[in-house]
């Protein structure tokens, strides 16, 4: 279906990534946000708070991130598309509710504008050190989807995608921005509403007597029922059977947790997005994402100018990780260089997927700034030796 035009600010704008993310959420149909102020993410909900009463919706500033991350899920079950926005310390507090959303299959979006950590760390400065937390942050087994925009335009476009993926797979989606992308101002083009594709919530057509709230129906993603229509459904974070009732046997646990994992892993090819350049002749590939991909671009361009055969692979989805693509490239390139604003997180995935067929060189940075392109260029030169 097409976007509701009331939420779409069609036109050309000169706005930062945080504001673009807000506009993406509104265009995607988000009509509810619960938040708690935290630098460098707050501008997203500040804009939402100003905009949403003019399109019909609600913003509430909660007492903490624990509350925000579950209030939004109440709103989802109340019928809204909903999200919350935070940064490192708040993201840590929200982890239990990422797990609750995964377990109860509540479609929603968590935006994390990454800053330096651990703990309070660098409130106003960038990092990309929450990538593994996005994947593994809540206890227990589940799969997750995480997107990594590298420009304000992508903050708009991919936020819409995040909401669509959340609905399609009934899963929390992590929107992994970073401080630089969040505060970078660029041109953002917002298309007309009828050019924006929206995935609506899949509500069941079955009558209450025939409806099993957690039966996958072949596609592994169950349909939802609307609260207030007499379905008398039950939602619990406990291990539950297809009726949604607590059932804590190893058999039911196995069936449920594998479905939660598989509904995303089996669709990984369809979900995974990469931006690729010059891979056909490359013997070294720079794998990067978010703001680092823009720094890496300069190094790659300089290397190409020198005639070095360097390819680019930008992760647009960090999770699911494009392991098949990396594995395939590992068979024909010498090395991967993985610059990121952390001490080596996605590099671990690259190394895992490469199966030892190509070298993986993490190019670490503890955050607070971005890489010097010269360092990436040097790594490219060294990796080719």
């Amino acid at each position: 279906m097409k976007a509701d035009p009331r939420g779409v600010l069609t036109g050309e704008h000169f706005i930062d990534g945080d504001h673009a993310c807000c506009e993406g959420a509104l265009a995607a149909g988000a009509r509810f946000a619960a938040g708690y102020p935290i630098t460098p993410s707050t501008e997203i909900v500040e804009r939402f708070a100003a905009r949403v009463p003019t399109v019909g919706g609600t913003f509430i500033q909660m007492e903490d991130e624990l509350a925000a991350s579950i209030t939004l899920q109440g709103a989802v079950w109340g019928g809204a598309k909903a999200f919350t926005v935070t940064s490192g310390p708040g993201f840590s507090l929200m982890m239990e509710h990422v797990g609750y959303a995964a377990m109860t299959e509540t479609p929603c979006v968590f935006v994390d504008v990454q800053r330096g950590g651990p703990s309070t760390g660098l409130p106003t400065l960038p990092a990309q050190a929450d990538m593994m937390q996005a994947r593994w942050g809540s206890h227990g087994d589940y799969a997750i989807i995480a997107l990594c925009p590298n420009s304000p335009q992508e903050c708009f476009d991919l936020t819409i995608k995040a909401f669509n993926l959340a609905e399609e797979f009934r899963t929390p989606v992590m929107f992994m921005m970073d401080e630089v992308v969040g505060h970078m101002t660029e041109k953002v083009v917002i298309p007309p509403a009828d050019r924006i594709e929206i995935i609506p919530r899949k509500y069941t057509q079955k009558p209450a007597e025939e409806f099993l709230p957690y039966k996958g129906n072949g596609a592994m993603v169950p349909e939802m029922a609307r609260t207030g229509e007499g379905y008398k459904f039950h939602v619990t974070g406990l291990t539950h059977d297809e009726r949604g009732y607590p059932n804590m046997t190893p058999q039911i646990q196995d069936k449920l947790v594998r479905r939660l994992q598989n509904k995303i892993q089996f669709a990984a090819d369809r979900i995974t997005l990469c931006e690729e350049e010059n891979l056909s002749d490359a013997d070294v590939v720079v794998v990067s994402y978010g703001i680092t991909s823009r720094v890496a671009q300069r190094a790659i361009d300089q290397a190409r100018e020198r005639g070095l055969r360097v390819g680019k692979l930008r992760l647009i989805t960090a999770w699911p990780f494009p392991q098949e693509r990396i594995r395939e490239l590992a068979g024909r390139v010498k090395a991967f260089i993985v610059p990121e604003l952390n001490l080596g997180q996605m590099a671990l995935e690259v190394e895992r997927a490469a199966l030892g067929k190509a070298e993986t060189y993490p190019l670490t940075h503890a955050g607070g700034g971005v890489h010097n392109p010269e360092d990436i260029l040097r790594a490219i030169v060294e990796a080719r030796r």
Binding site: R6, L66, G79, A80, T227, H234, T236
Partner: protein
């Protein structure tokens, strides 16, 4: 009807007026013999019957713990959320779909310890929620640890030599935070409790009903206070109805009087009314009302 006949009434006999409110396929429930939570559910179900409220419109939200299991036993749209977070979940549910009658049904530990911050803020905001707090004075599901409500020097598994922390007086707390309706009853006062729940459904805003309830397995046994029945007799003997009592005077002790009754019944605009008024006055015609169900 002979005595033998009455004992042999079959399980299929589901003529109990609460039966339509239960997920009968989940009975018997997990609560211990003499636990009062089931009794509070009777009062709740009867309040729904008597208030003639459209059951489709009622959503029940629980946190974690013994009382948290209520959500799994009632035949309503029901949500068993995370520990302490029933109120914020209910807040989202209500704000996104104001037509729903949202009930929060949870225990004292869940609502006033791990969820204490949400309790006071929801009362302050006057979110239109009906909160039923079953207070058994202890953490029961996890094995009898000290709760913020554990009175006097009661012994618990984490205060084996007696508690020494002062306890919360919950009616006083929520009144101070802004609740529009505050009452306390015990499980002995099943009919009064039912009426109180009915009254809360008539109120718009944050209503809080505390129900003092036995935990014979952990609180009463560890403190040599007898079983569930002994506790019910204590409630009968020692409860004093004091409607409008100053909530500062209704704190609980281990063996003393239990002041029960309706303490607070006042009117104050609820969150959504205030929100709409603010937007309407600031935005004028630009303000767009929330659609009850989006997407």
């Amino acid at each position: 009807m002979s005595a033998e006949l009455s004992v042999s009434v079959s399980n299929e006999d589901l003529g109990n007026p609460v039966e339509p409110f239960l997920r009968s396929d989940r009975m018997p429930h997990i609560w211990c013999p003499g636990c009062g939570i089931g009794t509070t559910v009777n009062s709740f179900a009867r309040a729904l019957i008597e208030s003639k409220i459209d059951l489709k419109s009622v959503a029940l939200v629980s946190g974690i713990g013994c009382t948290g299991r209520v959500a799994g036993y009632v035949a309503l749209d029901s949500f068993h959320t995370t520990h302490g977070r029933a109120i914020p979940f209910a807040t989202g549910l209500k704000l996104a779909n104001p037509k729903l009658n949202v009930v929060v049904y949870s225990g004292d530990g869940d609502l006033s310890a791990i969820g204490g911050n949400h309790l006071i803020h929801a009362a302050r905001r006057n979110i239109d929620l009906k909160v039923i707090c079953v207070n058994n004075l202890i953490y029961a599901m996890t094995g009898g640890q000290t709760a913020p409500t554990t009175p006097d020097h009661a012994t618990t598994s984490t205060n084996p030599y007696g508690t020494f922390e002062p306890a919360f007086n919950l009616p006083h707390l929520v009144e101070a935070a802004g609740a529009v309706y505050v009452a306390r009853w015990t499980t002995f006062h099943a009919r009064q409790l039912s009426r109180a729940i009915g009254e809360a459904f008539q109120k718009k805003g944050f209503s809080f009903i505390e129900v003092i309830s036995p935990c014979p397995t952990l609180y009463q046994r560890r403190n040599r206070l007898g079983d569930g029945l002994e506790t019910m007799k204590y409630y009968k003997a020692m409860s004093k109805v004091r409607t409008g009592a100053p909530t500062s005077e209704v704190g609980l002790t281990m063996n003393g009087e239990i002041i029960v009754g309706k303490f607070v019944d006042r009117n104050r605009a609820d969150y959504q009314t205030m929100m709409r008024a603010q937007y309407a006055s600031s935005l004028g015609e630009k303000f767009v009302e929330l659609e009850a169900v989006c997407s």
